[in-house]
Amino acid sequence: MRRRLLGRASWRFYQRHPWQLLLAVAGIALGVAVFLGIELANDSARRAFEASSSAASEQTTHRLLPVAGPLPEARYFELKTDQRWIASTPVIEAPVLLALAGGQRLEMMLEGLDVIEEPSVRGLSGVRSGDADLLRLLTEPLTVVLPQATANAYAIETGDSVEVLAGDNRHEVVVIGTSELGADGQPRLLTDIATAQELIGTPGFLTRIDLRLDEAAAGALSANLDPRTVLVPAGAEDQILGELTRAFNTNLTALGLLALVVGMFLIYSTISFTIIQRWRSVAVLRAIGLSRGELMGKLLGEALAIGIAGTLLGLLLGRELSAGLLELVLRTLDDLYFRRALAASEPSSLIYVLSALLGVGATVVSALIPAVAATRRDITSASRSRLERNAHRLARRFALAALPTLLLAGAILAIADRGLWQAFVAIFLVIVAGAMLVPLGTHGLMRFLEAPAARLAGIAGRMAVRGVTDSLSRTGVATAALAIAVATVMSVGLMIASFRASLVDWIDTTITADLYIDVGPELDSGLESSLTAIEALPEVVGISRMRVARTLAPLGSFNIRAQAPGPEGYGIELTAPDDVTAEALLDEERSVVVSEPLAYRLGLEPDTALELPTMTGIEAFRVAGIYRDYNTAGSDIVIALDAYRRHFDDQGLSTIGVHLAADADADIATAAIRALFARDRDLRIRSTEFIREISLVVFDRTFQVTEVLRLLAGIVAFLGILSALMALGLEREREFAVLRSLGMSVRQLFVQNLAQTGLLGLTAGLAAAPLGAALAWLLVHVINRRSFGWSMDFIVAPNAVLAGVSMAVAAALLAGIYPAFVGARADMGLAWRDD
């Protein structure tokens, strides 16, 4: 019966204060929804990525690749003579153009298969599904299978002929059927190996050999390998992408957890307020014999009920939220890493369980502190002044505890100097330390502001300022919660601004040419003569050449950027060593410079060695320097083009940079270059402005998901301050009633209340500024470094800080309007009543 009575008392309290209950439930629901939404989106994207990776290899366990150039077909026949490696199939992959009706050209990946061997080795269900009889590829020359989507989009039917362009090779092929898109999302033009060799003009050569091997067979094959080939595990390329996407997902998860942390502050402040409001009842209950344990049980029971309600609502909201977030996450991953369409996958249902546990657990943990405080209070001293004196003492203790908390954060960062999760724990500790300093900071600032406020608005100003300090037990928590939310929003803003500024700087450094010509498959032949003609154009002062090749080395998969610099050099900003230029370093034989992400991932430093597969086998190159690189593949190596050609036997080019005279017209130059190539439609020429613009568009799109999360964290914080102000207003109703009785007008009281909430916002904003800057520094120099290996300049944009402070004031004022209005309209009859 006692429990039922206590439960009834709790229920009736919340019946009288429904908004308090609603705000607490809403805070938990939003925190859980953000966390669940992010985790569902992350998990779905992760599964999509894994499905994509496994679809690309399926049953294949290993790949045999040439160290440079194409792979002689003889390697395949040699393999087939040994039973241990019989499960192998040749593969040709090459980009080609499809010439469609109306002059349209469509770039597509040509895939040459051995239709007999392929199913037993790779089992590519994606490419085999469809209406085509793949055996006809083998028996009928120059036949292909088109992706269903392409056939539909361009009204191509079975039996139609299309022209395939590859370099100087042009062939009419017959479409014998269609296939589904592979699960990796790539549209592929399927054909037989022999037809593929004919189409791209490489008879007797393959791109690679796919194998299905056990560990013993793989080891034996490695030991017997031709030095011009390399055996790598299937999906090795995806390992790096996997690392990067994991880092990306970790960052998102951390943001989701942050929303939950802000939500916890909200719960803490709400539960604290409900206890403070019932302080007299709590004291009476204790006086008539309620034990501390029973009181604790009652308060935690309330929190549990609120937690369950909020969590259930949060789970529903989170499911809806995840759909929108997933779209943003997939698009970002697609933009940054895969460049292939990812399809959403059904996330694990365990995430719902985890979110529910976190939601309910966070609520109970947040309620634990005020509940313990309530049970420990002296039941004979329920006075408000005693409570506030305790709050001031506690504020001083918290401030003292902030320093060791910061030291602990520093120690974690120093000890786990590469760990990402440890870095997030350190960030969490910095946030906690910041929150600990806020109440004392609030007190100090208000003391400082009291005299100016009194001069400005007389006794009303003084009352507004003192109202903040004299209710420190409530305002301290509310201000800390708002400060944390604003600091978080500010820090992410500062990090993005720093990143963007560094990216713009990097683009300006890297893109030295005025125009870039992509050397597609059709431009290989006679390219050098065209380049000579370009150099002779009056608008042109020079050209740079670049070959980009993907290579699989013992330490992983790298992009090799072989460059012959133009008049403005390599366009590389070295971060180490700092006393030489890239030109000087790359002049040396067997020297490469590596990107920061790659150097960070592999622990490379200047003068260390990096093994690369060359045409004479694996050779060690000196890492001469490390350069700043925001390419998201994260594994770039730059080498001089001449050296590359000597070591890798690859004479091709990928991109030509055209450097124009200062007074040259880019449009005229573009037209002249097109005329030289005599292929108006196909030649892809991009201006520096276009590349710069598109890079920034992708950058901004990348951070859209972050913006959404910032907004959600802001809403949680807004609810927190609203809840705090409503509770404060309720508590001071009688004081407002007295002031109204004394002749203070509704407007005067409204303005005074609003000024007080503005002061709370200002305090939170001023506290958030240094905390936000510190968090931004950690995001820039620790989190980004550990996640992606990027270094960037840390820029504290005054505008971003000012915007943060303004946001805190605006949020507080906005949240304060209703409580201020309610307070100003307080029933004056309340002055007649006891508490």
Partner: protein, 226 residues
Amino acid sequence: MAMTDGQPIEIRSVCKAYGSQIVLDHASADLAPGEFVAVIGRSGSGKSTLLKLVGGLISPDSGSIRHGAHDLATMSESELTTFRRRELGFVFQFFNLVPTLSVRENVLLPLALNQVPQGAALRRVDDLLGRLGLASCADRLPDELSGGEQQRVAIARALAHEPNLVITDEPTGNLDADTAEEVLDLLIESCRDHNATLIVATHSHDAAARADRIVRIADGQIEPAA
């Protein structure tokens, strides 16, 4: 500060109900300027309601309350606010001092609301505090004072702007007998000094006995006490 000088108060056929509970039923009464009237009655009889009606804090359902030429029923919200600010002083049972203001600032508050120049206001406050024996605790906060001291501050605040009418609800209800008498003496003397009308709702026969006139509220009516 008062707009009027010693105006009579007329309560005519006032009705007030809270839901189905009728508190005042066509109640009427007159208060002369400078008069000290004690209002007695059982708990819940409507004493506080009468005080709130006279103070313009709530409106009657019907009937009229006039302070001289001012009919409270016809006054707008802002006129009522100004009226209270200038004409009325309140002393509550639970003191109701503003906890964030010192004793001096609490007493200064009605003067500040009436825009009395700061120098004159401070002189007035210090004079009042001296007369009420509060000079030594002028800079202390309310929760550092005893109950009797807090009620004296409340009296000082009620009288600071020299109102025509002081309304008090159980001003001694929260004090011990000696302190209660001391506080009541102060209240009566101060009102007499300023020729202010004083209405006291009380359960205390001793307090009521000090009044010029005692009225009782019973069955919704205001009657002279026997």
